[in-house]
């Protein structure tokens, strides 16, 4: 296979009608860097309003796959639509309709909470009135009224993460992508974070989340597990545990990760 072919050779017919109700549709999506196949023909669908767990070991290809879905990189094969938009041709539309948050970067540390909200709200295209209203709601929900003018850098880690998530969905996107959002955070804050995720899901936002914590896999409606660039499992947590005769998701993950080649090399 040639390296880095852009997807222009692949025609995507208008599939809008087939994808209504589906937040994400992926078919044989691939990404290749030279000889290295980072993402190997993954196929899955995410329903609207679902909480979808996208799991996999480090190096399995999760981040690469997410970047393609967020409109941040071109796939080298396969097709995908996110919020009804084509990942090759409509990357800008995708970006307007999604939210994104990761463990590594959330908000600007040397801007205040309010300034961060104003910035991201403006970037997402909210009107001044919407921004004011949503910003106040956000601050009120987290109880940060007294801290609104303080620098984000001064907040404890867990609060930064919760704030970042709230800001990522301030424009009520169709889908929000979360990349390991609860890493390193204390157990209580972790669960409070998931309370926020549930609230978002109740509002109709589809949540696409990756995580290292296997108990969090259980909070998802369905999960998929990536191994060596492929999706080796895709189902509800309950079904997967039955399938692998496991008591916990940890055991399921372990059973799959054992056979992974990439971790050992």
């Amino acid at each position: 296979m040639n390296s880095e072919t852009t997807g222009k050779a692949i025609e995507t017919t208008s599939k809008a009608s087939e994808t209504t109700g589906k937040a994400i549709v992926c078919k044989d999506l691939s990404k290749q860097f030279g000889d290295f196949i980072a993402v190997d023909k993954i196929s899955f669908e995410v329903n609207s309003g679902e909480i979808y767990g996208f799991l996999g070991a480090n190096g399995a290809g999760k981040t690469t796959a997410m970047r393609m879905l967020c409109g941040l990189s071109y796939p080298t094969g396969g097709e995908a639509t996110v919020a009804g938009f084509n990942v090759y041709k409509q990357q800008e539309s995708i970006k307007k309709n999604i939210g994104y948050m990761s463990q590594k970067f959330s908000l600007y540390e040397n801007l205040s909470i309010k300034e961060n909200i104003e910035f991201y709200g403006g970037v997402y295209g909210l009107t001044d009135q919407q921004l004011q209203q949503k910003g106040d709601e956000l601050i009120a929900r987290l109880g940060l009224e007294k801290e609104a003018k303080k620098m984000v850098g001064g907040l404890p880690l867990g609060w930064k993460q919760k704030l970042a998530f709230s800001v990522a969905i301030i424009h009520q996107p169709k889908i929000v992508f979360l990349d390991e959002p609860t890493g390193g955070v204390d157990p209580v804050t972790r669960r409070q974070f998931w309370d926020l995720i549930y609230e978002a899901s109740d509002k109709g936002i589809t949540v696409f989340v990756t995580t290292h914590y296997m108990d969090e896999a259980e909070y998802c409606n369905r999960i998929s597990i990536m191994v060596d660039g492929r999706i080796d499992a895709l189902d509800t947590p309950a079904n997967l545990k039955k399938q692998y005769s496991a008591r916990t998701m940890n055991e399921v993950f372990y059973a799959l990760a054992r056979g992974a080649k990439r971790a050992a090399d």
Binding site: D186, P187, Y219, F253, Y254, R262, A263
Partner: protein, 318 residues
């Protein structure tokens, strides 16, 4: 072997209280775990013990030596693996190991028996540059480099963070074998499930120690009973349980919710009303939940940690 007496450390002219009044001790040959999330103060404690930081108050000793006065001696006899597997990225596996061996005035062959089990797993890659190794391999190499001079105490600061699940398990197996050889090991980790693999643990949060004991004792100390509740829809049941008047705490743990009930009498102690958990079950079924399952469970370390963290609302309070 390792002691901390009322150690406190602040950063930024006292604005950031990293560690407050921490005291603990580790016996010779023990496998001791420091369990807590990011920002709890684990790395600060490790840096104080390895003589890299001076505490504001308090005293710390390693192998009977004072960390402030006798720091040079301590630096010669401990093994340290800081958070980012500090290896020389452009040196090969072999070169890294040889360097650290000669740094401590020994050779790889001298203490090979100690690192053999671990090194053999990365030996096929010995001419590969450290920068090109996977997370799990880096972890093993860093461990070898910390052990190669047969230290009396091994300090491992979050060695399993950012490493795949399989390597994590293998790492703990290696630690158990090392403990069997008589090396005192201090490990820090944010993963609660790894706490059970230690001999004794200290739970730490926001720079303060919540508890120090064996994992079993901590679990036994959980006041009252803990129940796991499950039904069809996780989120809805969570909200409903929280609204139930008899609920003391309710936290999600995978597919189950761990629920504790308030004591029957108005005073803080005492068992919950004998009507629990049946009362909860009826309440939930009345609300329309089907197939409600409630069973008594043994609390785990995470349950205890959460309980010890105290009342944390989801509104920001300084």
């Amino acid at each position: 072997m390792v002691t901390l007496e009322k150690i406190s450390k602040t950063y930024d002219k006292g604005k950031v209280k990293a560690v407050t009044d921490v005291s603990l001790s580790v016996e010779k040959g023990e496998l001791f775990g420091l369990i807590g999330p990011d920002g709890a103060g684990k790395s600060t404690i490790f840096r104080i013990l390895t003589t890299l930081l001076l505490p504001d108050t308090g005293k710390a000793t390693v192998a009977g030596l004072d960390t402030v006065k006798d720091f040079r001696k301590i630096r010669g006899c401990v093994g340290y693996m800081p958070g980012r597997f500090s290896l020389y990225q452009d040196l090969t596996v072999e070169e890294n190991l040889n360097f650290f061996a000669s740094l401590f005035g020994t050779t790889v062959t001298e203490n090979y028996a100690l690192i053999k089990d671990i090194y053999q797993q990365i030996e096929p890659f010995k001419t590969r540059r450290a920068g090109k190794l996977s997370g799990g391999m880096k972890q093993k190499l860093a461990l070898c480099c910390a052990l190669v001079h047969r230290p009396e105490v091994l300090f491992l600061d979050e060695p399993t963070t950012g490493v795949d699940a399989v390597s994590r398990k293998e790492f703990w197996d290696m630690l158990q074998r090392l403990k069997a050889q008589g090396i005192t090991i201090l490990v820090s980790t944010p993963y609660m499930d790894e706490a059970d693999l230690c001999q004794r643990i200290a739970l730490i949060q926001d720079g303060k120690i919540l508890s120090i004991d064996t994992p079993q004792n901590i679990v036994k100390a959980y006041p009252g009973d803990l129940y796991a509740v499950k039904s069809g829809s996780l989120h809805k049941i969570l909200l409903d349980i929280r609204q139930y008047p008899g609920t003391l705490s309710c936290f999600a743990f995978g597919e189950y919710l761990h629920v504790a009930f308030k004591p029957a009498s108005p005073s803080a102690a005492g068992p919950p009303a004998s009507s629990e958990p049946a009362g909860l079950k009826k309440y939930l079924e009345d609300k329309g939940h089907k197939e409600v399952e409630i069973k008594k469970i043994t609390p785990g370390i995470e349950d205890n940690f959460i309980r010890m963290m105290g009342d944390k609302t989801d509104r920001y309070e300084q």
